[in-house]
Symmetry: C2
Subunit: 211 residues, 2 copies
DNA sequence: AGTTATTTTTGAACATCGTTCAAAAAAGTA
DNA sequence: TACTTTTTTGAACGATGTTCAAAAATAACT
């Protein structure tokens, strides 16, 4: 049966990705070793290279998962299933932005190592970032566009996309430097309050640009 | 002569730091190899470990240099030697913040690899970040306090320091994601304009908090 | 100046990585 | 069952950070 072959192959692939995800979560990007991953997945060292080009590509696969999980968290914050009218897309732009920023902050705190790997991992030159990766990241950015559009009805779609990236990156920077304890960022105890203040200032400043 | 000994030792130390700085600038953090550094410094491989605990500590030394250089650039932007009244500390808070942010952006662009290493490098656990490091970074933050204090006279010194870190980190995040091309950040062509818009929004929003 | 003691420098050797690939094991085919 | 093809394996390789006994250099002493 030829389908059994590729099924087992896909199964091993999934096992390796999951093993890598656990190793990453527990030991961080620098602690992720090929031998540990294959041992956890219950296969030989070389098997990794039958399923994936590179260890870097396996990491990329894990990162893609993380991106998707983060996207789900952000979307859930904005399109709540139950009743949470304070953060739905029809709430005030500031409330939506606050909900998004708070969710991003929580995600980063709760998935520290996996979240860090998104930004620590660099592809060896020659390799290109796959489209699925860029796409998953764009999805994150797009949830910021609606509230931003209400604050800045004067901006074009392209300008809004650009500004959304900037807004995302600003919040990201505060969280990033804070969680990277070696650098003097915002103390974690103050992180959520400072992110809130930042978003408040940004939305107020944005609203002022178009009275 | 016993002073000759430690003088030569210090000389070798400087040579190694400078070699590491060049290697870092040319090849990035991941391309920095102990053998290349010692070859460039003209000493044996093992000599590195007579002068420094670790390769990580050598990198930390280079990073400290980079932090100091960045501090000098930021201070020069705010306390211009010649005549540039538009950005001195007595200029409008927004103008000062804009000058600082633009300087930071330029520094990051012009010293890409060295600047990236500041945030990519992680100490192996057990090692603590030296005080000189934290001090150099605090110095960067402190130049933001004066303009911020004029925007927010209601905040205490501690609150201002905290908000300064947040402001710095927000600008940093936009630059960081933008220069990290693998992620969909702001395109470099738009970077300076977006940083400007961000600072504008933040200062306007901050000013609004205390009319 | 010559001899010995101390300190410094050296680079071969080691441990740990990611990666490869010939051989073994497994699966498919007749 | 015997043969072919595919897959899996793990020993081996090259690269890298780190160590340390030996060599070289320097200091101290007579």
């Amino acid at each position: 049966m030829t389908t059994n072959r590729e099924a087992k192959r896909a199964q091993l692939r999934q096992r390796l990705i999951e093993a890598a995800e656990i190793e990453l979560r527990e030991k961080g990007l620098k602690g992720l070793k090929a031998r540990d991953v294959t041992a956890r997945a219950g296969c030989a060292l070389g098997a990794l290279y039958n399923v994936v080009d590179d260890l870097d590509m396996l990491i990329l696969e894990v990162n893609l998962r993380t991106l998707i999980q983060m996207g789900e968290a952000l979307n859930a914050a904005v399109s709540p299933k139950g009743s949470r009218p304070s953060s739905g897309q029809d709430a005030s732009p500031d409330a939506v932005m606050q909900a998004l920023a708070a969710t991003y902050t929580d995600f980063a705190i709760e998935n520290h190592n996996k979240w860090l790997a998104l930004f620590e991992h660099r592809l060896p030159k020659g390799h290109e970032v796959p489209d699925s990766y860029k796409q998953a990241h764009s999805a994150l950015i797009e949830v910021i566009v609606p509230p931003l559009a209400r604050l800045r009805p004067d901006l074009s779609t392209d300008e809004l996309m650009l500004r959304a990236r900037t807004t995302f990156a600003a919040v990201h920077g505060v969280v990033h430097l804070s969680l990277q304890a070696q650098f003097v960022g915002v103390p974690i105890a103050n992180l959520k309050a400072e992110v809130k203040a930042l978003v408040e200032a940004m939305t107020r400043g944005a609203a002022l640009a178009t009275p």
